[in-house]
Assembly symmetry: D2
Homo-oligomer: 331 residues x 4
Amino acid sequence: MIIHLKACSEEQAKALGEKHKAFCMFDGERHVLINSSSVKELPADLEEYTEDYWVFPNDNQLASRHYRNETRTIDLGGIRIGGSSQNTLLIGGPCSVESEDQIRTSASFMNGLGLKMFRGGCYKPRTSPYSFQGLGIEGLKLLAKMRDEFGMKIITEVRDASHVQDVIDYTDVVQIGAKSMYDHGILKACAKARKPVMIKRGFGTTLQEFVQAAEFILSGGNNDVILCERGIRTFEHGTRFTLDLCGVAWLKEHTNLPIILDPSHAMGYAYGVADLGRACVAMGIDGLLIESHPNPKVAKSDASQQLDHEQFEKLYHSLKPVAESVGYRMI
Amino acid sequence: MIIHLKACSEEQAKALGEKHKAFCMFDGERHVLINSSSVKELPADLEEYTEDYWVFPNDNQLASRHYRNETRTIDLGGIRIGGSSQNTLLIGGPCSVESEDQIRTSASFMNGLGLKMFRGGCYKPRTSPYSFQGLGIEGLKLLAKMRDEFGMKIITEVRDASHVQDVIDYTDVVQIGAKSMYDHGILKACAKARKPVMIKRGFGTTLQEFVQAAEFILSGGNNDVILCERGIRTFEHGTRFTLDLCGVAWLKEHTNLPIILDPSHAMGYAYGVADLGRACVAMGIDGLLIESHPNPKVAKSDASQQLDHEQFEKLYHSLKPVAESVGYRMI
Amino acid sequence: MIIHLKACSEEQAKALGEKHKAFCMFDGERHVLINSSSVKELPADLEEYTEDYWVFPNDNQLASRHYRNETRTIDLGGIRIGGSSQNTLLIGGPCSVESEDQIRTSASFMNGLGLKMFRGGCYKPRTSPYSFQGLGIEGLKLLAKMRDEFGMKIITEVRDASHVQDVIDYTDVVQIGAKSMYDHGILKACAKARKPVMIKRGFGTTLQEFVQAAEFILSGGNNDVILCERGIRTFEHGTRFTLDLCGVAWLKEHTNLPIILDPSHAMGYAYGVADLGRACVAMGIDGLLIESHPNPKVAKSDASQQLDHEQFEKLYHSLKPVAESVGYRMI
Amino acid sequence: MIIHLKACSEEQAKALGEKHKAFCMFDGERHVLINSSSVKELPADLEEYTEDYWVFPNDNQLASRHYRNETRTIDLGGIRIGGSSQNTLLIGGPCSVESEDQIRTSASFMNGLGLKMFRGGCYKPRTSPYSFQGLGIEGLKLLAKMRDEFGMKIITEVRDASHVQDVIDYTDVVQIGAKSMYDHGILKACAKARKPVMIKRGFGTTLQEFVQAAEFILSGGNNDVILCERGIRTFEHGTRFTLDLCGVAWLKEHTNLPIILDPSHAMGYAYGVADLGRACVAMGIDGLLIESHPNPKVAKSDASQQLDHEQFEKLYHSLKPVAESVGYRMI
């Protein structure tokens, strides 16, 4: 249940929340209580403090369209997505930050095309200890340097709770990776962060669980959450994962959160990324994440799925008319 | 291995095929032998009869791009798809043929919009004996009647080998359903049919197996096979199935067969079909299959996923600019 | 809804069935009507003819434990499984009937161990046209010959509706394969057959759909249906399929049909079959199907998963104490 | 590649490891270097320091049977599993530690039956913020109290890196949960811990990735890692997950790590746990984990799958003969 409280002090709101074992947050306009969706009737002793309330069939509450019947507008440091913006934000960059040279070559290229947001991983969630694990804090500093040099916003991934504050400090948008999206340590830290957060769906995660991960952050007081579909694990191994666009249709119908798609990880092979990228944009979405490396063959991670710069540029130019055909604008 | 024989009589070709336990077919220009992909070297005694030959890593042979490096052109009774046509064929109609009234209302509407091909199921592959099983041969006759009245081509599904000849006789394009695509009885009958065949991918079928089903028909002498992706079964049950567009990218890269997509069955809910339909078209495909019923609420099968006529018309008009944005033309 | 009719003639029963669009069958003691589970109240005009009736939440009706609260006893030509028999029937034999020599070597060995039922495929549901497809009717004749020579009962698979009657005629138990279990042509023919039928679960088939396939046969008048779990297709490709023993627990709880397990196809590798076979038997089941070939290395199908005779014999001897530890007896 | 160094000082070993970007650990007998499995030839400059070395097809190295061809023996505080022990350890207890009363009732019961290890979750990895999240550090203290009172060893789960040290400090065996097993923060902390670690397989995790998570801990210097299969997520939703016993057969063939199975989470319903528990034991395994609550109906988590004490006791007594039938002993 979500309860909009009448005007009151933060102390009063928190006291009511504690009494009812409910989360208490401020949504910019009012104090809000949220408790389990199993509560179906407004507690009698809350009636006098309540302006409005909503009942839900499951724990998709703050994120649900039943609560807010439009996509949230999120400001990514001057870049607006969601709401009535009709913007589809293209985010490019390599899988991993590998060196200053590599990351500058990439940032310079992306900036030259006009991209507003740049990606690169510093804490790589590799499944083997014997693979490249990322540059860590040194990578974060290189990304910050690129932001200073080129003026693009930065998005980078947090891998586990031990370094979540570093990522929050350095990045413009915090990315929670597919393997970390159940991590309470990360989710709670992001709930308190004053930065937008993009959660990637785990490859074994249901849509309902995916939205509930967002609820951890929303109920903790951070209103700026974006969902990212990047492919689920299915029996089909001809491709790396299976991009779930049916799931995207579900999310658009049932949630109020902006959606960014990542066809690179889903496909796992460069050859399909362009077709899939255009399909994603035709869904009418808020952003598109494409991995591209100055020289994919020598990339230290995900070599097979990264576009080279020529491929990326070609894709970039093809996206604009697709976005326009469905009433969106690539930015 | 595929072997193009030098000019010879059908008897000679067949004799060589039998000797080498290979399929023998005529592809319009020459006799062709095909045997297992495990054969990696041209048998010495075939050298003198061989014009050209191809070796393959797996049993994706006649359908592979390694063999023919462009999409086959298929003539669906005057409607061309594939090849250099850049056509995306829209196929509409209800899930099931239910009555003469219902099917005429639907056909009349689809014809009025300008559609060239009409669908409707007569043999429904229901999973329960207690559900509506379709009108059978009476349904086929009604479809033929609609073809006569409105001039649209007809596509309808064969469910099992016991009535495959009836379907072949009545329809313009034979549809092999997702639950029947391993059916040797059907595949062999379609191999001998002089009609184009559209195979739907089983919801538990790998891409490799899907292509191999096509190989049954191609190696039996029917060159006109179309693949239809309609969603695979995954852990995600918020939607009915998961449309596998990564798989479509794989099929475009690895096979020479035209591709038609069916977002209605994948989604299972009318609300997502329009977004998905546009995404499908943006992939650059040869056809799109959308279920629509004059009154979905009373439909005898798949009620929740069929668009009503108003929704269908709205979708129809939105598809044209998407197709154009990727260099295709809706027909 | 299932309705037990009061004593009446077959004509009367059929007339009532037609009037109510219900299946009408004789279960050995009485005429029974079955219609959709969506019927929740006994039609008023049937009250006077009704002895008893059952309402169901879904189309698992004749097969459900709500209807019959014990496992059906099935007589496989003198071999009893299910009911209070506490028998676990071991079925052995090669994947395919390949030649008279091969099948006699195998049958002789299995008979020597004391096995009562012998398996071998004649119509192989291969996914590629370029693989061995089975000996067809010649294979059936060889199996019948082995039955005559050794006195074991025979189980063999039907692949599609075009040869279902041949299989019914030759075999003692009809096996419907995993790729054919939705095939209405086969299901309907088996419903009329006077032979027990074992249905293998499709690798993409839900438990509910699996039971509904059995309902096709049961509602058509054949009471002797056995379910066979043989592995489902999941994201895990280290093994061929994933044997679903949770599903077996579900079937034991929700259905009244005997259950046979096939760990060979699930595993896909000989090394795991013995451990899995013992686990299957410890579930408390009605039968176990193990593939074994006189010389697996030269087997024309499924070479990697078939046990050699030495491995089979060792497994055979290890199964008895496991069965006894859970109150069953290997036969 | 794994390299056994000749006798040398720790400093020498570390210097060689750093030079070759390899992990360096002491396995109790010698210093060992491990680097990527992509290294196929022993570097020339290491030859003089090398006693023995192993080459691998993938990053299953320290855990592989190619390296150590028997299951590791692990001492869980006086309880031995693996190696030649032929012990199958039964671990019981509730899903969550809920209160002192509840946990004492449970521990007293389990101790009375003779169990040697007790489980209970303090940091619950719930997917919704609106569910019970566990007692945290207070729960750990209650578990420690039970250990003092009853003398059983304790196993409990770490949820994220923010409290990993607390769990390591209080527990006898550290459990890494299915949702946390990719967590580098946890894996690295466990690598340095002097406690045995049980890793649960993620429900979307391949067997290869599962073993690689163990490699993080093994290569970091902790030799005592146990694998726990607890069900994977598949299309089948009649049960909560699908217990992957084919995967267990794979793990037994390919790794040297002891295996504990958890049928409770896989099944999700109490009714199937006993049958599955017996099947697990018949696989020949090192441990079995069964959830049981004094009063499942009021359990704060996983209510539907926990056995009550009567069911648990009945299962307990039935396991002994099954273990013996396959040459193991329940402890």
